[in-house]
């Protein structure tokens, strides 16, 4: 029995030593370098497929708009003359107009207002001035208007309510409150600050705006002669002269990074153009109305691949890259064509847009890297590759014995409303050279052979 116990203990030690040696050895895992043609084992080759609308079981595309408006744009467009567009900026400051203020810990009413001015930034690279300069007028607006629905013809154009401008189309602009002349030299010298001086109207305007019993019809900026300026968010600046200390002028700004009062102007721009619908064969992205391209791809389980007459099963394959290749159409020119670069993105559609239309529910953004639409470099036929790898991967991952829904997604600008104009590319009904293609680089599952 003594010998047997000794055996058991020693056996355990031997087993532990052997296990330790084995697991220590596991750390070594080198690979031999071999020529590709001589590598043992096998693996399925990675193949490329270029699929046009005719190669798929179905490819539907269309456009919808109305996903943005001038009021949601980060800019205001004022334009007159060439190109054939009249556009005017409207804005107002509904936020509290301060009529009292603390001075040395004492709340004091405003004795009077002073030095009223409106400061507007100019986006230089998107503005075009007339050769002799462009005159901008700051004018009072005569009618009450709705920032989210005001158009060239209507002050209010929301569902069920449509109120035309009382003075006819164009915004019922009243008296000229201020006027400045902008030249190329001026812009170069002061790139982001057009200042409309309203000092003589300081008291009257600010008291009017502070009176909540009165409608705040706001201000408008128009081009008095010709030219195009892309303006930023207007800023109101004025001085308050307090009763308790008339020798002190306290400067107030709206909006202001330092003010404790929330202050943000309501703004929009109205224009005399109605954007035409896309022609047959054209898809559209961007623009003030937020055009979006909706796509539905019904991909067959097997597709032809480049360099082979045989079809390859793409379902259950590893999709390394999938791109939608779209071709730019001939630029329509200003003002309809995008005047600045756009950033595009792809968003998954969760339902059938051929039934639900523009209100089709959307999913998450499917690409992490947005694609750039550089309008200056786009000519007819210029191809943009849009990464839709994740969408095709998810489609391909569905088992072969399960039903799989078509791949549905939309293409939009991100954010929308950053340009007045849009960008167009070829649809499935475009001439063959301009039609979209689906490019997929994939690797079928490896059929491991027996030795």
């Amino acid at each position: 029995m003594k010998g047997q116990g000794w055996l058991t203990r020693t056996s355990s030690v031997v087993a532990l030593v052997l296990l330790a040696c084995t697991y220590a050895a596991c750390a070594r895992d080198e690979l031999l370098s071999v020529d590709p043609e001589e590598a043992p084992g096998r693996s399925a080759p990675t193949v490329e497929s270029l699929l046009g609308p005719a190669d798929l079981d179905g490819w539907i595309d269309t456009v919808f708009s109305g996903f943005s408006s001038a009021s949601g744009s980060p800019f205001m467009l004022v334009n007159d003359g060439s190109p054939d567009l009249v556009s005017r900026a409207l804005f107002r400051f509904n936020a509290p107009i301060l009529d009292s203020i603390f001075v040395i810990d004492t709340l004091s009413a405003a004795l009077r207002y002073d030095s009223l001015r409106v400061v507007v930034a100019v986006v230089q690279d998107r503005s075009q001035l007339a050769s002799g300069g462009t005159t901008l007028q700051l004018r009072a607006v005569g009618d009450e208007w709705d920032p989210s629905s005001a158009t060239w013809d209507f002050a209010v154009d929301s569902p069920g309510v449509a109120t035309a401008w009382s003075a006819g189309p164009g915004g019922s602009l009243g008296v000229v409150l201020s006027e400045i002349s902008v030249s190329v030299d001026t812009l170069d010298l002061e790139p982001d600050s057009l200042i409309f001086d309203l000092t003589e109207f300081s008291d009257s305007l600010l008291n009017l705006w502070a009176d909540t019993a009165q409608a705040n019809t706001g201000l408008g900026i128009v081009v008095a002669d010709s030219g195009r300026l892309v303006l930023g968010i207007p800023r109101l600046q004025y001085n308050i002269i307090p009763e308790v200390n008339p020798d002190t002028a306290i400067e107030v700004a709206c909006p202001s990074a330092t003010s404790i009062f929330f202050c943000f102007p309501q703004k929009t721009y109205i224009f005399d153009q109605t954007t035409p619908l896309p022609l047959v064969g054209a898809l559209r992205v961007g623009g003030v109305e937020g055009w979006r391209s909706f796509n539905e791809l019904t991909i067959p389980d097997s597709v032809r691949v480049i360099g082979s007459s045989q079809k390859q099963v793409i379902r259950q394959s590893t999709v390394s890259r999938a791109e939608l290749l779209i071709s730019s159409l001939q630029p329509a020119g200003p003002p309809l064509w995008a005047e600045a670069d756009l950033v595009g993105t792809v968003i998954r559609l969760n339902d059938d847009f051929t039934i639900l239309g523009p209100k089709t529910p959307v999913g998450a953004t499917v690409v992490t890297a947005p694609f750039d639409i550089e309008v200056d470099s786009l000519q007819a036929g210029s191809v943009i590759a849009i990464d839709i790898t994740r969408l095709i991967q998810e489609w391909a991952a569905v088992p072969l014995d399960s039903a799989v829904a078509p791949v549905r997604f939309l293409i939009r600008a991100r954010p929308e409303g950053t340009t007045f104009g849009f960008w167009e590319f070829g649809s499935t009904e475009a001439p063959p050279a301009l039609r979209p293609f689906l490019r997929v680089v994939f690797t079928p599952d490896t059929e491991f052979a027996f030795p």
Binding site: T10, S11, V14, A15, T22, L31, G41, T46, R321, P451
Partner: protein, 385 residues
């Protein structure tokens, strides 16, 4: 006690078999069913792989009749790390592998009989390669790096019975079970500039089979033992556990002949020959060419130091093996020189054996690839007298 020791052995067998040991094998072993692993212990490795019949307790599992010579129960195991350096027209590199060629338990009973349970590597399919290539697409060239690995192999389990059937004669036989799995993986990583999603594929291939073993030992006089052993195998079932597809491969007939001669009380000479009918296996593997395995090995063991309960032995030998699966349709030969040390402790109740052999497999001329190897064997065992 017996049950506990058996449980431990089975645990070891399931944990340390080659199919569980990670590492990469020779490129030469990537063809066919892999690299043949012999169930030799570290002592036999030190004497030129001569493990058919040996004086002083044969711990290898080549000859089932050898178990009849054990007078006490015992358990032992051998661990086999190997460093390899490959060079050739299509492959190069250095790597290491690890195998457990034999774990064995022996239980004598009735004075003349013994049962033996052993497990060890049979076919090793551990290998891994990498290469860089370029994917040519219509509008771009995309470099990629691909790795292909195979881990695992086939393990041989032996349940055998041996007995002394007459004065100087021992007979042994048993049942062999073959089991294992090879996990094969392909990974293709494209250049980061391409932003291509990597590709990978995986499958597992299972192996199942059985066979029979038979062996005889004859001791014409005290200083000499001669032995003959053979195995016969039924089909080895190979199946892909992903697709369910499978095929059968007939296992080869094997024959080993050998013996040992105690030239002086402290000097032993051992020699063995082996043959395995792998060329017939190639009929079931159309994409593979195979040769019959031929092997010869021999060497000496010298008792260099003896104390009351301790003995220190020095061993040397050489071996030559023809491997079963060909490369470039030419047979692959392994030739090596063996050295070993042995330490017998506590009057034979424990032993530790070390072996080192080095040599070359394949040849540039015949196979377009060759490898040099340095192989260590480490064995340990405990016994009850």
């Amino acid at each position: 006690m017996t049950c506990r020791a058996l449980s431990l052995a089975l645990l070891l067998a399931s944990t340390l078999t080659p199919t569980q040991v990670w590492g990469q094998a020779q490129l030469l072993g990537a063809s066919g069913l892999g690299r043949r692993v012999l169930p030799l212990d570290a002592r036999a490795r030190g004497i030129g792989n001569a493990g058919v019949s040996l004086h002083g307790g044969n711990l290898s599992a080549l000859n089932p009749a050898a178990a009849a010579r054990f007078t006490g129960s015992g358990i032992w195991a051998t661990f086999l790390p190997e460093a390899r350096s490959v060079k050739g027209d299509f492959a190069s590199g250095k790597f290491q592998t690890e195998d457990v060629p034999v774990i064995r338990l022996v239980f004598p009973f009735g004075g003349r009989w013994a049962t033996s349970i052993s497990a060890g590597g049979y076919l090793d399919q551990d290998w891994g390669v990498e290469f860089i290539d370029t994917l040519s697409l219509v509008a771009e060239e995309v470099p990629f790096q691909e790795t292909r690995t195979s881990d695992g192999g086939v393990t041989q389990f032996r349940l055998e019975l041996a007995g002394v059937i007459a004065e100087g004669w021992s007979l042994g036989g048993g049942v062999l079970f073959y089991s294992g799995q090879t996990r094969r993986r392909v990974q293709r990583a494209f250049s980061t500039e391409s932003a291509f999603v990597p590709y990978q594929a995986f499958t597992a291939i299972d192996y199942r089979g059985w066979g029979l073993s038979l062996g005889v030992e004859y001791q014409p006089f005290a200083e000499m033992i001669l032995g003959v052993a053979g195995t016969w195998g039924a089909n080895l079932r190979i199946s892909n556990d992903t697709t369910g597809q499978g095929t059968d491969v007939g296992l080869p007939l094997t024959l080993d002949v050998g013996g040992s001669w105690r030239l002086t009380p402290g000097l032993l000479f051992a020699l063995s020959f082996g043959w395995e009918d792998w060329s017939s296996v190639a009929n079931d593997l159309p994409a593979v060419t195979a040769s019959d395995v031929l092997r010869v090995g021999g060497g000496f063991e010298f008792a260099a130091l003896r104390r009351e309960n301790t003995e220190f032995r020095v061993r040397a030998g050489a071996h030559a093996d023809r491997q079963p699966f060909e490369v470039r349709e030419n047979a692959v030969w392994e030739r090596g020189i063996n050295f070993g040390l042995g330490l017998i402790l506590v009057g034979g109740r424990a032993r530790i054996d070390l072996a080192f052999d080095f040599g070359k497999r394949g040849s540039i001329e015949q196979n377009d690839v060759e490898e040099t190897f340095q192989r260590f064997s480490f064995g340990a065992g405990v016994f009850v007298r």
